[in-house]
């Protein structure tokens, strides 16, 4: 194993530990601080009182938009 290979190997291992550790920490923080609570609600944020779920919002010009 040459010096370059060794340096490379160490850096790869190092970065796996570093990045992997960061990811684990981030995930555990996210769980603890409730980022995953009531997750599915987020998907409703694009709707509003005037464009509620259950109403389509696009159609060919001149044609009515069918209800879902």
């Amino acid at each position: 194993m040459s010096a370059v290979d060794l340096a490379l190997f160490l850096t790869v291992i190092g970065s796996v530990v570093l990045f992997g550790g960061a990811a684990v920490l981030a995930l555990s923080w996210a769980f603890k601080s409730g980022q995953f609570d009531n997750f599915q609600r987020g998907s409703l944020s694009i709707f509003g009182p005037d464009e509620p779920p259950g109403e389509g919002t696009d159609a060919f010009p001149g044609e009515p938009s069918p209800r879902t």
């Binding site: 490379l8 970065s15 981030a26 980022q35």
Partner: protein, 265 residues
Amino acid sequence: MDRGMVIFLGALLTFSSSWLGLILFPFWQLRDEKPLTKDGEDPYPVPLQGLALAGKTVYQNNGCMYCHTQQVRSERFGNWWDANGEQRTGADIRRSYGQRRTVSRDYIYDNPTMLGTMRTGPDLANIGVRNPSAPWHHTHLLNPRSANAWSIMPSFAFFYTREKVVGTRSDKALSLGREWTVNPGYRWKPSAKEWDAILAAQGPALAAQKGIDPASAEGKKQLLDYWLTTPEEDYQVIPNADGDALVAYLLALRKAEVPLPEAKE
């Protein structure tokens, strides 16, 4: 997840991993490569100089790279099956694109490094070795159909000038028949009317020269072939500065010829 900072940090971490791994590591690993020097031999590779260096810019500005690669893949690459159904590899080397695979050291003086990703035409990594004839490259560039009838390469007639011969013919003049030089870049053929006019003016002299009877249909056709495949007397096609430079560059492409220790399989 309602925090911008989470997204920012995540995007930063994921992307910097690839930036480190794919960009900075190879940059450090490859930055100190030196040419191969052996006692009594020229170093390899050497930087392009003079006309060939100018030719690199012509190659670059006209996008030659988009049909021609400059890289030779190893013996282990490119599977095919021979007549006995046996699997074989190493087409690049068998097609004589190089004596060995190319390695990073072959490119230390390339800027930009035009490896290419497409082989609409053949690889050019060692075209200067494979075909060292400047006149061939000139006639091929003027109109590639003059060398290979099936070619779809563009004519690079704009690297050439057709001019009246004043005094003696230039050394650089391309030796090609009229069909390629009368209308450079295209394949010329006289219309029936033009041909009749040419025959009326020069027919008897030509016929006498070749011993062909221009009266018969067969003779007329033979005479036309002769006319098209012989060079024009009073006009010549010569390369301009770009044409000269480009051919100098092509002849300077001699990668994968000098053995390098790291290129062994």
